[in-house]
């Protein structure tokens, strides 16, 4: 890639005033670096991935409201986590976290356990129990 061809497309990086470094060759064929504000092929891919996360969050929300899963799963998706990441932060075994996705089990959790989850998401127990607050 030539230095003059380093793409300067609009991207999410721009708003954060963030420019990446690309390696490219100058007029004399020597390697150098050049900043890039973004490149459409990757911006589209990133936006798609973000859309997908949003979909997952919405889906989880619907299932919580239908009492098919506990709010825990919703907050997990909201924080872009998966089971093992959530289990790691909460310091609770994975299989137990999974069990806590069951509304009947979740509703009987001790305030100590609830506090652990609330701390992970930096919210109150109240908010953890009621996702619409």
């Amino acid at each position: 890639m030539k230095k003059s061809d380093v793409p300067q497309d609009k991207s999410n990086l721009e708003s954060a005033n963030f420019r990446e470094l690309c390696y490219a060759v100058d007029e004399n064929g020597e390697y150098t670096t050049e900043h890039t504000t973004g490149w459409d092929p990757k911006t589209i891919a990133l936006n798609n991935a973000i859309e997908k996360i949003k979909e997952r969050v919405e889906e989880a929300k619907t299932r919580v409201l239908a009492n098919e899963t506990s709010p825990l799963e919703y907050y997990m998706e909201l924080h872009k986590m998966d089971l093992s990441v959530l289990a790691g932060y909460a310091g609770i075994w994975k299989w137990r976290v999974k069990r806590h996705f069951k509304p009947s089990v979740f509703n009987k959790l001790s305030s100590k356990t609830l506090q652990k989850y609330a701390d992970v998401f930096e919210i109150s127990i109240e908010q953890l129990q009621h996702i619409d607050q």
């Binding site: 890639m1 954060a16 390697y31 092929p41 990757k42 589209i44 798609n48 790691g88």
Partner: protein, 334 residues
């Protein structure tokens, strides 16, 4: 206190931290040089593992690998420490800063407050340098950022003890022993030899064969998984190839820059010819990304199967070129 530390932005965090720490200690080593000597270039498809609900491909060696290989090959000794609890981790960090010693840290990205939101996901193999502390604020040189930045001690603690795969556990490192002068020649040779060996490895998921495997999968995905999933997968492949840190073209440009520098140090004209060839291959990776993005631009609408075959063919061509390339490279440094 604030240590007199010069921040240089780099494409990739791991090479960048090593290069910055080396320069702080008076050794001029560029980012591509660290990457090349540390045999950073790779292509590896990791079957069974999924990240973001898509297959995982890596264009570089495992986190920490580049760093270790580089240190070993140039004869620099690094001290590494991991911690059980955050108090101990903080104490050791502060002690080093008191001693005017900037240190490298492995951190998780998700809680790096200075990163754009879109880039904050649970990836735990990011690297940065701490070069000072003012009151309760740490001075941070993050190699992928243009300028230096800061984190509060609470924020820093959070990223040092991020959880999930590759959890950093407070991992801290800094060079403690240097050779009298850096002998790069032998290190470069070793670095190149290993990269050739890895890229030409006779296993289906690694190197040139790995690229071919992915090409085959791309042909299958739309039929087997449906276009929606196939497009998501394709998008993830391009992200792994081009996202922050690769310097463009899945590290191929950084590698070409390394070969150009190596040509001068080893006084081997063949290497600068090969550098040009690698640049051209990098351009083909970029073309692949552009064509793939035409497919995943529309997320769920019907896509012609031919289009997937087209990008798969492009990858197969790249695989053939790289096979030829690494054979020539292997010969060139014999």
């Amino acid at each position: 206190m604030k240590i007199d530390f010069t921040h240089h932005q780099s494409a990739h965090c791991e090479n960048g931290v090593v290069s910055n720490l080396m320069q702080h200690n008076g050794f001029e080593v560029s980012e591509p040089m660290v990457f090349g000597i540390g045999s950073g270039l790779l292509y590896c498809y990791i079957p069974l593992l999924k990240v973001d609900h898509a297959p995982v491909i890596t264009y570089r060696a495992m986190p920490g690998f580049i760093f270790n290989k580089f240190a070993k090959r140039v004869g620099v000794k690094f001290k590494r420490e991991k911690f059980r609890n955050s108090e101990a981790a903080k104490k050791r960090l502060d002690e080093n800063l008191e001693k005017n010693n900037p240190v490298g840290l492995q951190v998780g990205v998700y809680n790096l407050t200075y990163f754009p939101d879109e880039y904050r996901f649970h990836f735990n193999a990011h690297n940065l340098v701490v070069y000072g502390k003012e009151n309760d604020t740490y001075l941070i040189s993050d190699p992928v950022m243009e300028e230096v930045t800061t984190l509060s001690s609470k924020e820093l603690d959070k990223v040092r003890f991020a959880k999930g795969a590759f959890a950093p556990k407070g991992h801290m490192y800094y060079p403690i022993e240097f050779p009298k002068e850096l002998k790069l020649e032998e290190a470069i040779r070793k670095g190149i030899k290993q990269t050739c060996r890895d890229m030409l490895a006779p296993v289906p998921f690694v190197g040139v064969n790995g690229i071919k495997t992915i090409a085959k999968l791309i042909r299958k995905w739309p039929k087997k998984q449906g276009t929606k999933k196939a497009n998501h997968y394709l998008g993830q492949i391009v992200r792994m190839q081009e996202e922050i840190g690769t310097g463009g073209g899945g590290f191929r440009y950084i590698y070409a820059a390394f070969l150009q520098e190596a040509a001068k140090i080893l006084k081997k004209e063949e290497l600068s010819v090969l550098s040009k060839e690698m640049t051209a291959i990098g351009d083909l990776w970029r073309d692949f990304a552009v064509d793939a993005s035409r497919i995943y631009r529309n997320r769920s609408t019907k896509v012609e199967i031919d289009l997937y075959d087209d990008v798969a063919t492009q990858l197969e061509k790249i695989a053939d070129l790289e096979k030829d390339f690494f054979k020539k490279l292997r010969k060139a440094i014999k």
